[in-house]
């Protein structure tokens, strides 16, 4: 396999995962009552610049606040939704992610199962048709639901027909690395208000819908219930999203699965094998970092330093991955 093929596969995995993640996050927040409403009724709880509300945090979670501000004047629903879904000038928008994935599949068409092209192409064409989303006409829920279906279709095709060889492992490495990053980003975007906890029924009532939205954005609501029952709190959610060994969107699970696929890659070139071993060690370090986390560190982490450090380490792993296998030395998104 050519280096550039490996890179393309890796990014196919990443882009499709990113698209799914975007859709989940926006959908849940879209239907969350704005904290602006609460801000109006409880100004003492929502003072200061954090009243930037959910739209600002969606942009945060998708990692591009500076870029957003250079294009748009304010954080409002229609601008943010457009920016993260259909804005072709945003390198991270849904349509751009899917377009990149499609472009990459195209360069590998003869090597990949034909169903994979059909799905990716169909997805892109469908999304392109949307052109402009008028949510007053169309249900936002249906739109994002459809996106999740497309990405599920893509994953289903990979799962059921791809030979378990390097091609497969590269796609999966991309997918799970992206997932690790995304879950960490979601945690970074948790409102510091809800993190501050506080007691009293009134405060709990204000924060609850928001915490629930965080869980729902990763489809973790039902799984969380099974392990934490009625203990819906900021700390429990952070613990669950980072450390759960069974929930497939937790940082722990995503990182370990990525590691398995990383080890699955088979190489003939001796020099490359040395580099491969190095990056496996790199991933091992990150796993160890996670394994050594004390619950105390998580629960006292009001500044979200833990998830920030993990996010940085994950990003470095991504760069190391690119340097090892693609020898380009830079990441293209």
């Amino acid at each position: 396999m050519l280096n550039r093929n490996a890179e393309a596969l890796f990014w196919i995995g990443r882009y499709m995962e990113r698209a799914e993640n975007h859709a989940r996050l926006i959908n849940v927040h879209y239907h969350l009552q704005s904290e602006d409403v609460n801000a109006a009724t409880q100004p003492e709880l929502y003072s200061g610049s954090d009243a930037l509300c959910k739209w600002g945090r969606i942009v945060d979670a998708l990692g591009s606040r500076t870029a957003y501000e250079s294009q748009y004047a304010s954080y409002n629903e229609s601008d943010v939704v457009h920016y993260v879904t259909l804005d072709r000038d945003n390198p991270n928008s849904l349509v751009v992610c899917v377009n990149h994935a499609r472009g990459n599949v195209r360069t590998l068409r003869e090597k990949l199962p034909s169903e994979l092209w059909d799905v990716t192409n169909g997805f892109y064409l469908w999304l392109r048709e949307k052109g402009h989303i008028d949510f007053s006409r169309e249900s936002a829920h249906q739109f994002f639901g459809r996106i999740k279906e497309w990405t599920a279709l893509f994953q289903g095709v990979c799962q059921s027909v791809m030979p378990r060889e390097n091609e497969w492992h590269f796609i999966e490495c991309g997918r799970y690395l992206e997932r690790t990053e995304n879950t960490l980003r979601i945690m970074q975007s948790i409102s510091p208000r809800s993190a501050a906890g506080g007691s009293g029924v009134e405060e709990a009532e204000l924060v609850y819908p928001y915490l629930q939205a965080v869980l729902k954005s990763v489809s973790g609501y039902q799984a969380f219930r099974r392990y934490y029952a009625d203990g819906v709190s900021h700390d429990a959610i952070v613990e669950f999203l980072i450390l759960s060994t069974v929930f497939p969107r937790s940082v722990h699970y995503a990182l370990h699965t990525m590691d398995e696929h990383l080890r699955g890659i088979e190489l003939l070139d001796k020099g490359l094998r040395t580099a491969h071993d190095r990056i496996i060690r790199h991933a091992g370090k990150l796993k160890a970092e996670l394994a050594c986390l004390e619950l105390d560190e998580l629960s006292h982490d009001r500044e979200r330093g833990v998830s920030k450090n993990l996010l940085q380490s994950t990003q470095q792993l991504g760069i190391a991955f690119a340097q090892t296998f693609f020898r380009m030395g830079e990441v293209s998104a």
């Binding site: 009552q33 249906q142 609850y208 969380f224 219930r225």
Partner: protein, 485 residues
């Protein structure tokens, strides 16, 4: 204030009953302005599209109930008719309802505790002994039994109606296995998906945390204060008409959905039989009537329950929510005494009033009622669900005569109530807003805190003029919004 001059409302009559949306002058009530503006501006094709999406979503999610009728071989699976014009309750109104609910449920719980212990209220002559021992839902097995936290009803459903002046009255208390939670929650999520703008700008009180409170309440029942109790929802099975609701609640609360055959009794404990072996059950949220819970204690031929369950319960090794025997307080005859209970146990005046009720076992009240049947509503005291009921103003002479006979034969089985002019709320029928009668089932959850789910379930009688809102009798539902200030 806008007037109801738009086409969808043109033939709307808001004079003879209290209307939730319009006042007597046909002006839109202030808390309905946003909703009225939206729906009166929507074009017929837009309304049709929303309706189609709604139906589609309900079928996809399997939000259905099963209808059994004697003369048909296969039961019908129906989506519950959901009307997308929300019922809106302003904050100040809701706060008074909420206080009234908490007060009522507190008194009812005290009553049940009293009945199964000292029986003070009977000794003091406030409630006649006959009301209790003659009551089909009285469970002697519960006498002297301590229930965890003294909480008999974890979940109660109180039905409210409004008269022509808009005053709220309690129509009935559902204290055994009240249903409707799932329609309330699904209704809300459908509304927020179909009309996100309206929903998001309306400042609707959140209901999601209530599910957490529900779960906390169940957990608080765990025997000997166990910290991480194992909770199951006991369902009669997939053929039950409310099965969708059982799956919904189990899923949302992360508790196990089980049938009687999944549970075993051993050494005065209840265990769940699963692939990993036996696991002790601490709390059972049952959606099964008392008489089916345990064939050894109650109905011997029942296959739905768990033989030995009551033994384990008596031994204090498992909690049951709601406790067996709560039906003694939601009987329609006992209902008439609830205001007295509130005064007796809490030394407070009732915040919410009962519908004026005649107890037909009493001679004078019976004679008055028999003479005025065409103006009254007659209800059987031992049945629920709206099957055994006479609505005087809507009944034929023949039906009235038949009921009069039945009352004379067995007067203790019936009560009569003044026919209330139930309030009306607009529903969308074929693209036209049409007034229909509504009630409100409000849900009270009791654990370490007493919590009323903001809003509750508005039920609609979809047939013109009908006052029957039960889903088994062709009623529909609406999402109910309590507005924050």
């Amino acid at each position: 204030m806008s007037m109801a001059a738009h086409s969808q409302f043109s033939s709307y009559d808001s004079t003879s009953f209290y209307d939730e949306m319009f006042d007597r002058e046909r002006s839109v009530r202030p808390h309905y302005e946003g909703v009225h503006r939206l729906f009166s501006r929507m074009k017929p094709y837009e309304l049709a599209a929303k309706h189609a999406t709604l139906q589609q979503r309900m079928l996809e999610e399997g939000i259905t109930f099963t209808l059994y009728a004697q003369n048909q071989s296969e039961p019908l699976e129906r989506t519950i008719p959901f009307d997308y014009i929300p019922r809106i309750i302003p904050r100040h109104e809701w706060e008074s309802i909420e206080r009234g609910m908490k007060q009522r449920v507190k008194a009812l719980n005290a009553f049940i505790r009293d009945i199964y212990h000292e029986g003070r209220i009977i000794k003091d002559g406030v409630v006649p002994r006959q009301m209790i021992i003659g009551n089909k839902y009285f469970r002697p097995e519960m006498a002297g039994l301590h229930v965890p936290q003294d909480v008999y009803m974890t979940a109660s459903g109180i039905d409210l109606i409004r008269d022509e002046k808009g005053r709220y009255y309690v129509l009935e208390d559902n204290l055994r296995t009240p249903s409707g939670f799932s329609y309330l929650y699904k209704g809300r999520s459908l509304m927020s998906e179909l009309f996100p703008d309206l929903y998001l700008t309306s400042r609707v009180a959140d209901i999601e945390r209530s599910l957490n409170v529900f779960l906390s309440s169940l957990r608080s029942l765990a025997p000997s204060g166990k910290r991480d109790p194992f909770i199951v929802l006991l369902t009669p099975g997939a053929y039950n008409s409310a099965y969708y609701e059982h799956t919904f609640l189990a899923q949302q609360m992360g508790i196990h959905l089980v049938e009687g055959r999944d549970l075993v009794y051993k050494d005065h404990k209840i265990y769940l039989r699963d692939l990993r072996g036996l696991r002790q059950v601490d709390v059972i949220y049952r959606r099964l009537d008392d008489e089916f819970l345990d064939p050894l204690a109650f109905q011997p031929d029942s296959l739905l329950g768990v033989p030995g369950l009551m033994n384990a319960y008596r031994a204090g090794n498992v909690a049951i929510a709601n406790a067996p025997g709560t039906g003694v307080a939601d009987d329609k005859a006992v209902y008439a005494y609830v205001p007295d209970m509130i005064r007796y146990y809490l030394a407070e005046e009732p915040i919410l009033h009962n519908v004026p009720t005649y107890i037909l076992a009493r001679k004078e009240e019976r004679e008055y009622a028999l003479e005025h049947l065409e103006q009254l509503v007659v209800k059987e005291t031992s049945l629920s669900g709206g099957y055994g009921m006479l609505i005087g103003p809507a009944a034929t002479g023949k039906e009235i005569a038949a009921f009069a006979d039945a009352i004379r034969r067995d007067p203790g089985r019936y009560i009569a109530q003044t026919t209330m002019k139930l309030s009306r709320s607009p529903v969308m029928l074929d693209g036209v807003m049409t007034p229909r009668h509504v009630d409100l089932r409000a849900f009270v959850l009791t654990g370490s805190e007493t919590h009323v789910i903001p809003g509750g379930l508005t039920r609609v009688a979809l047939t013109e003029g009908s006052l029957v809102v039960n889903s088994s009798q062709g009623g529909g539902v609406k999402d109910t919004w309590v507005l924050n200030r």
